[in-house]
Symmetry: D2
Subunit: 386 residues, 4 copies
Amino acid sequence: MSLQEVLSELDGFTVEVPSWAYGNSGTRFKVFTTPGTPRDPFEKIADAARVHALTGLAPRVSLHIPWDRVEDFGALSAHAEEHGVGIGAINSNLFQDDDYKLGSLTHADPAVRAKAVAHHLDCVAVMAETGSTDLKLWLPDGTNYAGQDSLRARQDRLAASLAEIYAALGPEQRLLLEYKFFEPYFYAMDVPDWGTALLHCQALGERAQVVLDTGHHAPGTNIEFIVMQLLRAGRLGAFDFNSRFYADDDLIVGSADPFQLFRIMVEIVAVDAHRPGSGVNFMLDQCHNIEDKIAGQVRSVLNVEQALAKALLVDTEALTAAQDAGDVIGAHDVLMDAFHTDVRGPLADRREARGLPRDPMAAYRASGYAAEIAAARVGGTQAGWL
Amino acid sequence: MSLQEVLSELDGFTVEVPSWAYGNSGTRFKVFTTPGTPRDPFEKIADAARVHALTGLAPRVSLHIPWDRVEDFGALSAHAEEHGVGIGAINSNLFQDDDYKLGSLTHADPAVRAKAVAHHLDCVAVMAETGSTDLKLWLPDGTNYAGQDSLRARQDRLAASLAEIYAALGPEQRLLLEYKFFEPYFYAMDVPDWGTALLHCQALGERAQVVLDTGHHAPGTNIEFIVMQLLRAGRLGAFDFNSRFYADDDLIVGSADPFQLFRIMVEIVAVDAHRPGSGVNFMLDQCHNIEDKIAGQVRSVLNVEQALAKALLVDTEALTAAQDAGDVIGAHDVLMDAFHTDVRGPLADRREARGLPRDPMAAYRASGYAAEIAAARVGGTQAGWL
Amino acid sequence: MSLQEVLSELDGFTVEVPSWAYGNSGTRFKVFTTPGTPRDPFEKIADAARVHALTGLAPRVSLHIPWDRVEDFGALSAHAEEHGVGIGAINSNLFQDDDYKLGSLTHADPAVRAKAVAHHLDCVAVMAETGSTDLKLWLPDGTNYAGQDSLRARQDRLAASLAEIYAALGPEQRLLLEYKFFEPYFYAMDVPDWGTALLHCQALGERAQVVLDTGHHAPGTNIEFIVMQLLRAGRLGAFDFNSRFYADDDLIVGSADPFQLFRIMVEIVAVDAHRPGSGVNFMLDQCHNIEDKIAGQVRSVLNVEQALAKALLVDTEALTAAQDAGDVIGAHDVLMDAFHTDVRGPLADRREARGLPRDPMAAYRASGYAAEIAAARVGGTQAGWL
Amino acid sequence: MSLQEVLSELDGFTVEVPSWAYGNSGTRFKVFTTPGTPRDPFEKIADAARVHALTGLAPRVSLHIPWDRVEDFGALSAHAEEHGVGIGAINSNLFQDDDYKLGSLTHADPAVRAKAVAHHLDCVAVMAETGSTDLKLWLPDGTNYAGQDSLRARQDRLAASLAEIYAALGPEQRLLLEYKFFEPYFYAMDVPDWGTALLHCQALGERAQVVLDTGHHAPGTNIEFIVMQLLRAGRLGAFDFNSRFYADDDLIVGSADPFQLFRIMVEIVAVDAHRPGSGVNFMLDQCHNIEDKIAGQVRSVLNVEQALAKALLVDTEALTAAQDAGDVIGAHDVLMDAFHTDVRGPLADRREARGLPRDPMAAYRASGYAAEIAAARVGGTQAGWL
């Protein structure tokens, strides 16, 4: 693909940003705060909109319920629209209620399960109010000790709970089910891998799709293989992008292994899944524990775009020829040629041509926005995970 | 379950041993040889029969084609029968032909794929001659470098190849498909995880089942969870038991983490899958690189039996009560009570009552069999992986 | 060693419990609370004393500063003594001050480093007041992004900071330096492995020793090897015992891999390091996120004692004979014989003979203590990590 | 550093290539052969010289004894010189003798240890004949089963064996000791980590240095941290470069994680260790199981050079300023700027200016050398690991 074609392929590509990335986050050891952190969903959306204004890449914001619960979601949607962005997926929360200590949708007690299901019906109501089509469900349930509960019974309960939730969705709405290897439980997670997520989605129906969070795998897992496999099975609903070295580190996507991000985008491009209408929602799910949050989001969406541009640059004809010829190094080199190409200049040119800053990071620093919100957002309680 | 009930539950339980465990094996660095190593399938079966004679646990021997190809499989079956054992699963080999350097059932060249498919039709013919009902297929295919080949195209070719093989099976025969995380390829294996194996089995039909090799997972993977999940999906066809600390170490099952083996058997017992007729074939797949091979096999089948006995000992009533009460430590302790119980005495008593040695390891050492075969098996070429 | 000798070897063996295990803990997602959780160090010590009363194994309590700061440490020591226990190691805290966002003893800003050093001088003062001889320092410092800071400069600053702290210790006091693979930082920890801890201890002097937390290693790490190596180098100062499946899960020691705990104790016993005066402080460092905290501690110290008893049971003469003969399976079997032996009965007998409950877990449940503290400890703020 | 300065810093930089990379290698499952594979050390050196002729980067060849034993090492040296290269490190072999099944320098039997020590004295003799100054010792010893041997006794024997070897070295000669996490043994390697290697080097003396093989670590290990730490301790003697996804995959360096290779070179550059005289020997240790071997080596040395050039490009002034200011993303971005820069053009220009091919990979393909050696090297036994 020529550079010009590559750049035009980027036109419809967008990244959805999470409202919670603008709030405080941390580890179990400490949550550091920063001046200017949003106090409510309106301020989070204002920050997210700034990311879009700087990059042209991030027109949607995921909400998290109950963190982003407001009295009037219509007002929130309007606020978003005014700021140039829209509401994206609705994320449920199954990890912060005292009742969920031993499970939520999998809990042995039917009353707890009913409560967890009801929470999702609330989320579906929010979807109606915001026009959101994606209900994203990460199941944090699991156990810490062998024997603590029946692994199998929990699957059965989960299947029944999910069926109730799925039944509440409209025909244009999807259930996005996310798996995670470990944390917050350490012996067994109830949806630990893509195979488990897939089995549940298969049981539910076609509008149940799998979410791949790039930080939710065992060490050494080939993530682009799973991307390919879920696409092949027609079940890749969304990404939660981030970076990791060890566990679910939730670092800026592309910061730990930019080559892996590129390889993932190569599998995306192979079936045109980067194009609007592919059904794959490219989302971030990150924690800016120690770095500036807005800058961190800007850097993240730029990293995704850069990886996509490089993936589009791969000379697929030469690649296929080398592959068919069994030329191992030759085929690998075709891929690496694209990866080693510096696309930052053309991407800056493209931004400029679209009326965006050539260097969004510098533009953000120069904008004074950080100082502005630090001065304005005094008092109140900063938003965070808890 | 009372100890008496536990012991009676063991009656139908068997472990299938692999013919190749009696031959030489090693690492890429060195294959050490030992006096007395079998030179042909007849001698392997004689050794395997000795394991059964000592333990009463191992009445079947898996064959590997072409390693165990003989002119007259009827004679081999008769030889086995004379020695008190039978022929079990037929294992194909897709990793030792020069044509398979870049793949076998997934190869870009249709001629190579056809050759690999034809090899399985040969295996099906062997099944007819030996009465075997299980065709076990471990796909060693994969790639070493990103870009080397299309991950997706390889899946498509694999699906087509598997369909041809599956079509050749009789109505009483099964295809057992084994996944592996890595090795002998290091960038991407073509069937790296249970999810991929499951998707292929689903596409093939009900007699396609997954093989779980306990050494074929990413670090930290909860294997008993996968056992439960495959059982729940009706797709657990067989185990390849062994132990690992790091990779596919192929050590004696139960030697690296006896508690894990116990937890696996707990999931088996939960649905009575240890009983004959469950459809789960409990097989060993091990390499005795430095230890005595026959002793290693005796130790292995004893370890599996011990883990099963402990799993049967779990006080399921107390366990369920503690689980339902949300008593985390209480439930865990019920499980641990069974694990900490020393069942070696009762198992020895049971062996004695069945006319078997109380201590099969000591009986083997005392038997002089090792010296006998070392003296007898002089000359010829020792059997091995290559 | 005869069972009688084994039991007598247990006499001087003790486990130190951490005050913070009795407070609330959790993950970054949620800290669940429980009725009866201590509100202050006095109540924590009361709970810890209960563990000792039930087991006879846990006569010392580690303190954590500032969590356990009280106005009058003499009063706290007296309170401990009244309850039958004493004060153990003093643990510093370098992860909860806003100034430490980018580092403490390694921070680029000398003022922050000075503050962190001064905190340790405070801890040394507490040691004087409590009679504690061990200053335990876990360095949580690290970076999240490549380039964020100079890895090398941080080592240099750390070395200088540690030298100041070490200089403040009295001749009978030790600095115990703990390493950790990852968390709370995800690109590079500043003391990530035993090699780094050892280099710093060597630079400091003989009273600087390494702390091995069983949850602070890369996947697959052979921990008993490190135990052996640090003992051989004369630098194993202490354990922080717990269990893990994935990361620093901080589960009940012995719950995830009882065989590993046994192997660790085998290395301990090999050089009599279980005996008082060996200089190895056997401590717990655990989080009882979802289980009863006191019961969790009771279970933990019992698990350590059980592993030690089994390690003492190893027939070392037979083991050495098999090892010298190159009898791989024979030597392994000698070890496994000890592991498979059920020592719970003799340990219960021993407890009974010492005036302790045969079954401390049952005795704790029967005691009504949980209900008692739940009723008594109403109001106030429950102690926790934060 | 300006691009011009960067390019001039490359002038003295060299990579040492291993003779064995030109022979056949494989996995335990299969060693694939290729036409043209060298049959003896002379042909290996001819191939290695071709890599140097194409790249100007690889003027030395490591030998492996006994694989590269010849009657007249003077003739081999002269042959190398004629081809424009020299002899580098001498590598010993402790993994292919039947006597070493249970250990070599650590073996319980003094006769086996003496044999292994004597082999190193032979290697020292080869060093005298070839002018080599580096004796590289990778200890493959280890155990497969807990209890198989005493971990501690093996350390003691190893220390004594190493002392004998070290004593045989001349004042200008070094002992380079390499550690490895696992393989070919699976329970415990006797030198599994850099801490163990360091302790032995410290005990031996200043000319004992550690070898860091990039494939010999636990999953997730931060390798550049170890590079920094060994440099800081004055003990980094050499690299064995390669790439890995899972275990010791021995893939082309830079193919699995080019960003990691860059980060390693950043630590090298920080103390000018890329310059001649630093004492760090940059070696490859790879296996070209399925790809063209010579092309694989060319690609490898180019990848190392590219990573070094990028590391030199880092704007250290800006980096330090951002680090000192606590600007997390800013500092990270400075590093990433260098990584994202495409240096292939300037490196090609530099090659051209030095009379080398702009594109060594294409030049190799165009040279017809592969066909030439395939035609010439008919008959005889291809060199390989075994």
